[in-house]
Symmetry: C2
Subunit: 412 residues, 2 copies
């Protein structure tokens, strides 16, 4: 399994592009992205569990329901959420405009095979005129040789400070199979499914059913283990398109090939989960909580999620304060059970490892060393329990002045 360059354009048959069409006044980054597969794809998706779903989410749920799709159109600058019938009509028009332009450019596709995703401010009607004016240029650029991921990955960024993409190559059934991805996500991120916009492309031959199964298995241990601020967005969508061009024997059941595919998918999604947490709004630290020795994996994951979701734990990391009591506290209100007397807690980073709580008893520890360990950009919390063999990891970030600043005045 090798990480490679190219993001969503790395798998065979996929092109991408991004343009600035003017959806949000004053934005200078691209704001409209497209991903296209030369041939029809098996498709699967997971969506926000928020009852209040954005209009493009409703449309994309409908369009992906038959397990097939061929293109994705995504925009930043407006979430098209809480916008009612007018908002839904605009999402539908976006798909129709894209299908017409792509068909005119030589790849005949139906508007039902276009998946639409939006991100940005909630509660304002989207500038459909801007999308209409930008669509032709966007689609024309899709004919490029495959570096369109650079233009596309920028067009989905909102408060993200870094673009997020990755690609992986594995061998399945004697064929070289590639998976690529790009995602956005910085605020309104919580562990209740996709929690952002994420697009995965692959040339793997896999049935829509197995693709959906792999996506659901994967998010449990990747995207669903990320929290920035506890808010589950109205727009979360994670899509995967598989066009089969790698030429591997089609994966139609769980077996060795499925396992390799799932492993690659997990590696890709963990990479993105870490990138999203590290780029959480205002974040200065990526916090990884690893729980081991829990009674089972699900318990371990839930304990880890509770720790990285705690505002108090997050604020302590901002202050480089080894306040481990808040970690125990957050494990305690997770809803899971564990043996406190058999629990130990350490911090680990590039600057070293330090234990602060050993089998239920507070340790007197070197505060200076602890500050050094916590000063690194990536810090791991290691919670070792004595209840069994379950393990799990979750990712979050610290709570900073900048998080408050960014979100105190995001809309206006």
């Amino acid at each position: 399994m090798n990480f490679i360059e190219g993001g969503v354009c790395a798998p065979k048959g996929f092109t991408a592009n991004g343009v600035l069409c003017g959806i949000k006044k004053g934005r200078t980054k691209n704001d409209l992205a497209a991903i296209l597969s030369r041939s029809p794809c098996a498709a699967a998706a997971v969506f926000t569990k928020n009852l209040v779903k954005a209009e493009p989410v409703k449309l994309t749920m409908k369009n992906v329901a038959n397990g097939k799709a061929q293109a994705v159109i995504a925009n930043a600058g407006n979430a098209n959420a809480c916008t009612g019938e007018e908002g839904y009509a605009n999402a539908k028009k976006t798909a129709a405009l894209a299908a017409a332009a792509i068909s005119a450019a030589g790849t005949p596709i139906s508007e039902d095979d276009v998946l639409v995703c939006s991100t940005g401010v909630i509660g304002q009607q989207i500038n459909i005129g801007a999308i209409e004016s930008g669509m032709k240029g966007l689609v024309t650029g899709l004919s490029g040789a495959g570096s369109g991921n650079v233009a596309a990955r920028e067009a989905i960024m909102t408060t993200d400070t870094r673009h997020k993409e990755a690609a992986i190559r594995v061998e399945i059934g004697g064929a070289s199979v590639t998976l690529g991805t790009m995602a956005k996500g910085s605020g309104m991120i919580h562990i209740n499914m996709g929690t952002m916009l994420g697009f995965i492309t692959t040339d793997c031959a896999i049935s829509a059913g197995m693709l959906s199964e792999a996506l659901r298995e994967s998010i449990e241990v990747t995207y669903n283990c990320v929290s920035v601020d506890g808010d589950t967005s109205t727009n979360d969508t994670l899509l995967v398109l598989a066009n089969g061009m790698a030429g591997n024997p089609e994966i139609t059941s769980k077996g060795k090939d499925y396992a390799i595919f799932l492993e690659a998918l997990n590696a890709l999604n963990v990479t993105m989960a870490r990138k999203i947490a590290a780029d959480g709004e205002g974040a200065e630290h990526l916090i990884e909580c690893q729980v081991t020795g829990a009674k089972d994996d699900a318990t371990a994951r839930n304990l880890a999620k509770s720790v990285i979701s705690s505002s108090l734990v997050k604020a302590a990391f901002f202050g480089k304060d080894a306040n481990w009591g808040r970690i125990l506290c957050a494990m305690g209100y997770s809803g899971e059970t564990f043996g406190q007397a058999g629990t130990s807690v350490s911090f680990r980073s590039a600057a070293g490892e330090i234990e602060v709580f050993h089998e239920g008893v507070p340790l007197v520890f070197d505060e200076d060393k602890a500050k050094k360990v916590l000063a690194e950009g990536e810090v791991a919390i290691l919670a070792k329990l004595s209840d069994g063999k379950g393990s799990g990891t979750a990712w979050g970030c610290d709570l900073t002045y900048d998080y408050v600043k960014i979100n105190g005045d995001y809309r206006t």
Copy 2:
């Protein structure tokens, strides 16, 4: 029903005191408080649902189990949580020291009738020597004429910027009955029971069973509707002591007298819930979310709680930004169902009222007026649904730079 002065000392037969004994280095406020009833009391309590319970919580759960108690000892500066057997022994010693001192001063009580509560940093052994040295002075001061609430209310403050107390007088069965309370709570506050230290005294004659029932009914609509930061503490305890000295016919079942008592208890607890939210760590605004027209009261409360718990809603209030989309978003992930198309949202404060979302459709509104409404210290979010007659209210505060500052370096 009249609010009166005197806090926990307002009901007949209760005295209180507070001293500075030196539990936490550098503290200049009182740090050790006592409340004593001249005669034995019916007692009830609710405790943190955190699995990781502080040592004094474990002791107090045991001591109150028989529905009777007579004194409370509380300290700030150290939570005595995650401190194992040594911590439990220290909590027990605190009760024993208090019982001995109170008995020696002329009110014979058993250590099992002393309830112990601690608040402060987690994971450090408490300075029991300081408590021992301070106990005599603390108890001697209990003989005062009833203004000891002033010394006592200070001794439970941690990051609280204001003391919190209230008292109410009602007539029950022809007798004048008084309820008094004091509480602390500023951070690590979340809607999962008591969420702080709170002490209620009353001279009402009421059985322990009815007292417990009233307490449980009351917290559902008061203390359990407050969130500061989503963290449920290890030490949360809300105690009520009723000594019967008002001379009303003892309340032993639900009827008219119980209803009056519960109404007074609710009024007292709502007052304190609002005080705690308003004094949330770093808070500049008290946010009250009132949901009406929900399918039932429980749904309305849960929707309101979800709104005031959202980091993004809280940050928007800090920025005086009428970002109502985040309110809809938080209602959407509450786990409750509601009809979005029949939902309207307004903001209201002393500066006026402004509607921003009307029956499912975004309104174009006066941004300047909205800023003025949101600039007030107390702001209400009014969410009007069209699903039924349920209503509920929850209280929170904004998320500010100061919250991050306070919690970035609380321990060291």
